[in-house]
């Protein structure tokens, strides 16, 4: 699935010179006729309605040859070009009257003024972190009047994802239905091999590859000082492959291949055109339903699997009462005053419901804003590292005090309330 974000707008316009007889026949029946299963509030009309005309696409990636087996808007000649640009060009030329505007950026490079303009946001992202960020962004746009959610501030989020022959599509109405973080347990954290296995007790070819990647590369710096292993560089992969073979030979392990090496280094997930087509179609159907207001949208999560026959399962994911993203209640965290800050850090990264990546913790101490620990800037990391082995009491923190936590998984700072246990 293309890593694209497609906020969409229905343009109820007229006067396009790319109309032709019958163009909308397949669509207008659904908008001109009500029926027993349409939305109770739906009022059909025979006014000319056009398709989706203004679509923005956000994608930070460029096209790779391995995308071509499924990403049908791209061709061999486009390899190296930004996906957003090529996709926009293709659609604009194939679909008269459609206006796709590309943004060759990370989703995090755009702010609330950008996202606020859209009626619907569709995501085909390739990481949970990015999904949580978008989720957080849309939650931050919600407006509450006297504690009541203003429905006009809700931007529906339609999210799809695939892996091999499995996929899922979900509809999120921020502030109303289960959000990404409400169901974080549905995305179990990636399992990495234990270091002792890799370092001294390999059994599988994958262990040998991780050995070359994680231990040999930093030690031998085969392409120079400071040169990071680039999974897209065939020379790098070849080096890892050769060293993995040597490692495997030492332990009589078979099965190291170039393909496996690449797969492990790049954490490749197999992908085919068909699964992506199914999930993209399901998402597009939901966009149509929501944009036309003619139907009750999917409520709210569908999984698909066609390994054995075709299997779908549709259910209503429930909101979590104390969801770290959408429950609006500052989360309590319970620690003894003699706990070390490291324990708080571990809780933020290891808890199944939080799964933060590199949280930065700040608090107000003696009236002043104090950064307790921050990882992403080397100088600050060094300066604040000693705090990790200090106790919460030593750091001057008080019971019931608020801690502000920032992390890549959320665009807004999260507030926690520190509750001292005895």
């Amino acid at each position: 699935m293309a890593d694209a974000d497609e906020p969409m707008v229905v343009d109820g316009g007229d006067g396009h010179n790319c109309e032709w007889e019958g163009r909308w026949n397949h669509v207008k029946k659904f908008l001109e006729r009500s029926g027993p299963f349409t939305h109770p509030d739906f009022e059909p009309s025979t006014e000319a309605l056009s398709g989706f005309h203004n679509i923005h696409v956000v994608d930070m990636d460029t096209i790779d040859v391995s995308n071509l087996n499924r990403q049908f808007l791209f061709r061999g000649k486009d390899v190296g070009r930004p996906k957003a640009d090529v996709a926009a060009d293709f659609i604009n030329s194939r679909i008269p009257g459609c206006c796709v505007i590309p943004h060759f950026k990370k989703i995090q490079d755009l702010d609330e003024t950008f996202y606020r303009q859209f009626h619907i946001i569709v995501c085909g992202l390739d990481s949970v972190v990015a999904r949580r960020w978008m989720n957080g962004m849309l939650l931050s746009l919600l407006v509450y009047d006297d504690g009541v959610l203003d429905p006009g501030s809700i931007i529906p989020l339609i999210d799809g994802g695939t892996e091999g022959f499995k996929g899922n599509a979900r509809v999120i109405l921020p502030g109303m239905t289960a959000c990404i973080d409400c169901t974080l347990e549905l995305y179990p954290p990636q399992v990495n091999f234990p270091m002792c296995t890799i370092a001294s007790m390999p059994r599988l070819p994958e262990h040998c590859i991780e050995y070359a990647r994680m231990l040999l590369w930093p030690k031998e710096k085969p392409f120079g000082d400071g040169v990071v292993l680039d999974g897209d560089d065939p020379e790098h992969i070849q080096w890892v492959y050769q060293r993995s073979l040597e490692r495997a030979a030492e332990f009589n392990i078979t099965g190291v291949t170039y393909r496996l090496t690449q797969g492990v280094v790049k954490r490749i997930i197999p992908a085919v055109a068909s699964t992506n087509a199914v999930i993209a179609a399901a998402c597009a159907t939901e966009v149509f339903k929501i944009a036309s207001s003619a139907f009750i949208p999917l409520n709210n999560y569908m999984v698909f699997n066609d390994v054995d026959g075709l299997y779908t399962y549709t259910f209503e994911a429930e909101r979590k009462e104390n969801c770290s993203a959408c429950s609006q209640v500052p989360l309590d965290m319970h620690f003894s005053p003699t706990s070390k800050l490291q324990e708080v850090l571990d809780y933020l990264t290891e808890s199944a419901s939080l799964q933060m990546k590199s949280p930065a913790i700040t608090a107000t101490v003696e009236g002043k804003n104090k950064t307790l620990y921050l990882q992403s800037v080397a100088s600050i990391e060094q300066r604040t590292r000693p705090n990790l082995s200090k106790t919460l009491k030593e750091l001057g923190l008080a019971d019931r005090q608020e801690l502000a936590v920032a992390d890549v998984t959320t665009p807004q700072t999260m507030l926690f309330r520190l509750c001292f246990t005895s």
């Binding site: 992506n276 199914v278 779908t312």
Partner: protein, 525 residues
């Protein structure tokens, strides 16, 4: 030439890398040797084909007698408005071909009915035929031709917010089904001799801590099982309580430090965790037993099988090393010559014959390698058999039980199957589908209801179809919305890939997708 061949192979490996990780090079080869026939380049048809062209099928042929209308261009990504009035098969072929230059795209501007009249054997050449938006009569005619020719047939239809697929294949074998959660084959209940000896070579009680904590859990369980069997009359733990007790035995085997506190032995924890599945009795899965009992399995003599394997190896030789000729026989008739000259000449033929035999033998080995795959996958071998369309549609063999039991829930997806059948009836009677124009919707509801009742009566189906569904199917006006077509496009293409590659298990035999509720069901009709 060899260089460009190598370069093409390398670039294909890169392009197809993500899918090769699912079905392997051998799976990809079956795709590249396949020739798919699509009938009708509607949105559903082109979406299906897109998902076959991208992964690199060898060739496709679109059979379609229609010309492109404005309506067609409105929902079909593979038609443009400059192709209005042109040959639909051709216009679609061009835009589909453009997706992947590895694929060979062809078209025949002809209706399938005409081809069935004049040249039904036209369809015999295909690996699979995919028929889209076909009226009932054409479907049944085509179904009969393809059934006799043993060509797999996949029927697909998008009707309003409903998607429909029907697989028609007499017998489809699957060696590599790639099951998601396969049970392991550990043989702890019936250890073979070499395994027994290997277990014997371990003595847990005399090991140092390092060895003890790094002994594989299979050995740990095997050792404790031996002990248990000797204490329980040769009976393994059977119920929950016994298994719990067995787990406890293993837990007690964890080494303790000098203070009597148990050490951290992860392998023992693994053993305890795996007791349940480890104690599963080894047996032939019932699905495989059924295969063993089938006629096809029992009518082969060992001679028949090796004959065909060896014959195939000879064929491979002829096509490759033999350059069109059989292996050299190696004998020559007697003739006037001195001994040395004759023997030398005879040896030339003999050596070549031996060489050729060795080459044929290599081909046999290659063929047998795929037999190795059968062994590895023996527990997961599957055969899918679908009833013919004739059987489904015949009053004598209609699957009444399946229909009536599903319809116990009047909102089950079965109702959409019945409505599609009713709508086909409507088309037969009125030469059009219900509710295509706004002014028709109201009146057509009653007409369609008559078709529904007529259908139920003909098949003696004692089910009730709610009026809501009849209204809804008129409302659809036989529209083919692109997003529903695209969902089917992905689903059908993958089923076609399963048929072509003989990997993963295809559905059987009817699939219904409801885009309104985003639900689906598989029915056996």
């Amino acid at each position: 030439c060899k260089d460009t061949m190598a370069a093409t192979k390398a670039s294909k490996e890169q392009k197809y890398d993500r899918q090769l990780r699912l079905w392997g090079d051998h799976g990809q080869e079956t795709l590249e040797n396949a020739h798919v026939c699509l009938i009708n380049a509607t949105a559903t048809g082109t979406e299906i084909l897109k998902n076959l062209v991208l992964p690199g099928i060898g060739a496709f042929t679109i059979v379609d007698g229609h010309t492109v209308t404005g309506e067609d261009v409105g929902n079909n990504f593979f038609l443009s408005n400059n192709s209005i009035g042109k040959i639909r098969a051709q216009a679609a072929t061009e835009l589909l071909q453009e997706l992947n230059s590895d694929v060979s795209g062809n078209f025949v501007e002809e209706s399938p009915d005409k081809l069935l009249d004049n040249d039904p054997e036209f369809f015999h050449r295909f690996t699979i035929v995919i028929g889209v938006q076909l009226p009932e009569s054409t479907c049944l005619r085509l179904g009969s031709v393809l059934w006799s020719a043993a060509v797999p047939f996949l029927v697909c239809k998008t009707y309003g917010l409903i998607g429909y697929m029907r697989l028609v294949v007499q017998e489809h074998t699957v060696i590599e089904s790639h099951p998601d959660n396969a049970l392991e084959d550990l043989r702890l209940d019936q250890p073979f001799a070499e395994f027994k000896n290997h277990i014997q070579s371990y003595d847990l009680d005399s090991m140092d801590k390092k060895d003890h904590s790094h002994t594989p859990w299979i050995i740990v369980v095997a050792k404790y099982l031996e002990k248990w069997l000797s204490e329980h009359n040769g009976q393994p733990p059977k119920n929950y309580n016994e298994k719990e007790a067995f787990r406890q035995c293993i837990r007690e085997g964890i080494l303790k430090n000098e203070n009597g506190v148990p050490e951290d032995e992860e392998n023992f924890e693994e053993a305890i965790k795996n007791v349940n599945t480890a104690l599963n009795p080894t047996k032939v899965p019932s699905a495989v037993e059924d295969l063993f009992n089938s006629v096809q399995c029992n009518d082969i003599t060992s001679q028949t099988l090796s004959f065909w394997v060896m014959l195939r190896a000879v064929k491979e030789f002829v096509l490759n090393e033999g350059n069109g000729s059989l292996p050299v026989r190696g004998t020559i008739p007697d003739m006037i010559a001195d001994s040395q000259k004759f023997i030398n000449l005879q040896n030339v033929y003999r050596q070549k014959a031996m060489q050729d035999a060795a080459t044929v033998s290599k081909h046999v080995e290659c063929l047998l390698q795929s037999f190795g795959k059968v062994c590895k996958n023996a527990s997961f071998l599957r055969v899918v058999r679908c009833r013919s369309l004739a059987e489904e549609y015949s009053v004598d063999s209609v699957n009444k039980d399946e229909i009536t039991s599903c319809m116990d829930n009047p909102d089950s997806e079965m109702v959409f199957y019945l409505m599609l059948r009713a709508v086909d009836r409507f088309y037969q009677q009125h030469s059009r589908y219900p509710g295509v124009y706004n002014y028709q919707v109201e009146d057509d509801i009653n007409k369609l209801k008559l078709c529904v009742n007529n259908l139920l009566q003909e098949y003696s189906l004692n089910v009730n179809i709610k009026d809501d569904y009849i209204h809804e199917f008129c409302r659809y006006g036989a529209a083919e919305p692109h997003t529903v077509a695209a969902f089917l496009g992905g689903s059908a293409a993958q089923e076609a890939i399963k048929i072509i590659s003989h990997q993963f298990v295809p559905f059987s035999n009817t699939f219904i997708y409801n885009a309104m509720s985003q639900t689906s069901a598989t029915l056996q009709l």
